[in-house]
């Protein structure tokens, strides 16, 4: 019981991590809720083996990404860049160049594969290439190569998205 309380308290403090992963991997609100539930349950099941030798946040990222990547219950839907469900309203100002760029980049990230999404997520969270490599089970060199490819892909895709919105 004490361990359950401790887990709930820790998860509550770090629930933003799960939300980020859910937002990244799921387009629809109901799917995000399902994934949130699944990550919470998987984390609870694995919590007994959490030794505390890594930070809880790092451990939770690993559980969350493992769960999101292996979560194939529903057919993958293409993200809709104009969906209000996908892009939050706050701070959206028409004609704001940066905001448009962010929207386009966000949509471009949505087009990436599950593995690339995980790498981008960790990159955005300021993990080093070594840290990303450890989490993904690949070398730092491999991460660097992938990150370069992802950046190029995102640049091209963002350009396409922006051209599409201007039409």
């Amino acid at each position: 019981m004490a361990s359950e309380k401790a887990f709930i308290s820790l998860l509550n403090q770090h629930q933003k991590i799960i939300y980020k992963v859910c937002n990244l991997y799921m387009d629809q609100h109901s799917d995000r809720e399902d994934l949130f539930q699944e990550i919470t349950l998987q984390a609870w099941k694995a919590y007994g083996n959490f030794r505390g030798d890594a930070k809880f946040s790092t451990w939770l990222y690993r559980v969350a990404l493992n769960t999101a990547i292996t979560f194939f219950r529903k057919e993958k839907r293409k993200p809709d860049i104009y969906s209000t469900d996908q892009v939050p309203e706050q701070g959206d100002e028409p004609g704001d160049g940066i905001e448009e760029q962010v929207k386009a980049m966000y949509a471009a990230i949505g087009e990436l594969s599950k593995i690339d999404k995980a790498i981008v997520m960790l990159y955005l969270e300021d993990y080093s290439y070594n840290g990303i490599g450890e989490m993904m089970g690949i070398t730092a060199n491999n991460v660097a190569v992938k990150m370069n490819r992802i950046k190029t892909k995102l640049k091209e895709e963002t350009r396409k998205q922006l051209a599409f919105t201007e039409m």
Binding site: N12, K20, N23, T40, A46, N66, S113, Y123, L124, M136
Partner: protein, 211 residues
């Protein structure tokens, strides 16, 4: 613009739509059922263990109390097969439990799930295929032996439809052959339908990580 230039805005955007959950909400989530493939496998394995134990009790009892020697032999063999199957299922359950309680790096986790599903489907396939000869040929031989022991002058099985024993043997072989092919493809199709697409997707992720 590039990813690095929008890093902080993207980070913010990812954490929006964050409604926040209370301790009570999280506690409630812990009582729900999971939808992960390892948990589905676990559920399926527990069901198989239950059915297998039930089968062992019934078949074991028949193999002891039956008055007919053929039935005793037949069900004893099934009891032995059931014990082997039970051991295999328990082994798979332990592996599944171990996997779901450890937090591996993404690539190792994917590889472990693929290995587990492949082993699960392979064993399931082997058992299904092994049961065909046991069920048919063994049953036929025992029935023939039982009949022959009771009445040595009794005609061979199928004597009403076939004029000689070799025709019966040929028919049984052909029947077995067709049955084995149908069972082979049906089992393969069924297992592929259950896990095929999922395993393919996981393998694609592993391949992507290996590039």
């Amino acid at each position: 613009m590039e990813l690095d230039e929008l890093k902080y805005q993207l980070k913010d955007k990812l954490s929006t739509d964050h409604t926040g959950r209370s301790d009570a909400d999280i506690a409630l989530l812990l009582t729900k059922r999971t939808a992960s493939v390892t948990d589905k496998l676990k559920k399926s394995l527990w069901l198989e263990i239950f059915l297998c134990i039930l089968m062992l009790l019934v078949f074991g009892a028949i193999s002891i109390i039956s008055k007919q020697s053929s039935l005793r032999i037949y069900f004893s063999v099934f009891t032995i097969v059931g014990i082997v199957f039970l051991l295999v299922v328990i082994y798979l359950l332990r592996r599944t439990k171990k996997l779901s309680s450890t937090t591996l790096p993404v690539k190792s986790n994917l590889q472990s799930i693929v290995r587990l599903i492949e082993e699960f489907t392979r064993r399931y396939f082997q058992i299904t295929m092994a049961l065909i000869p046991i069920c048919f040929i063994f049953a036929l031989l025992l029935a023939y032996q039982e009949k022959h022991l009771q009445d040595p002058s009794a005609p061979f099985p199928g004597g009403h439809y076939f004029s000689s024993l070799w025709q019966v043997v040929l028919f049984v072989i052909a029947y077995m052959f067709v049955l084995a092919i149908v069972a082979f493809y049906f089992t393969k199709w069924y297992l592929k339908k259950l896990y095929g697409k999922y395993v393919q997707q996981l393998k694609a992720c592993i391949e992507e990580l290996g590039e």
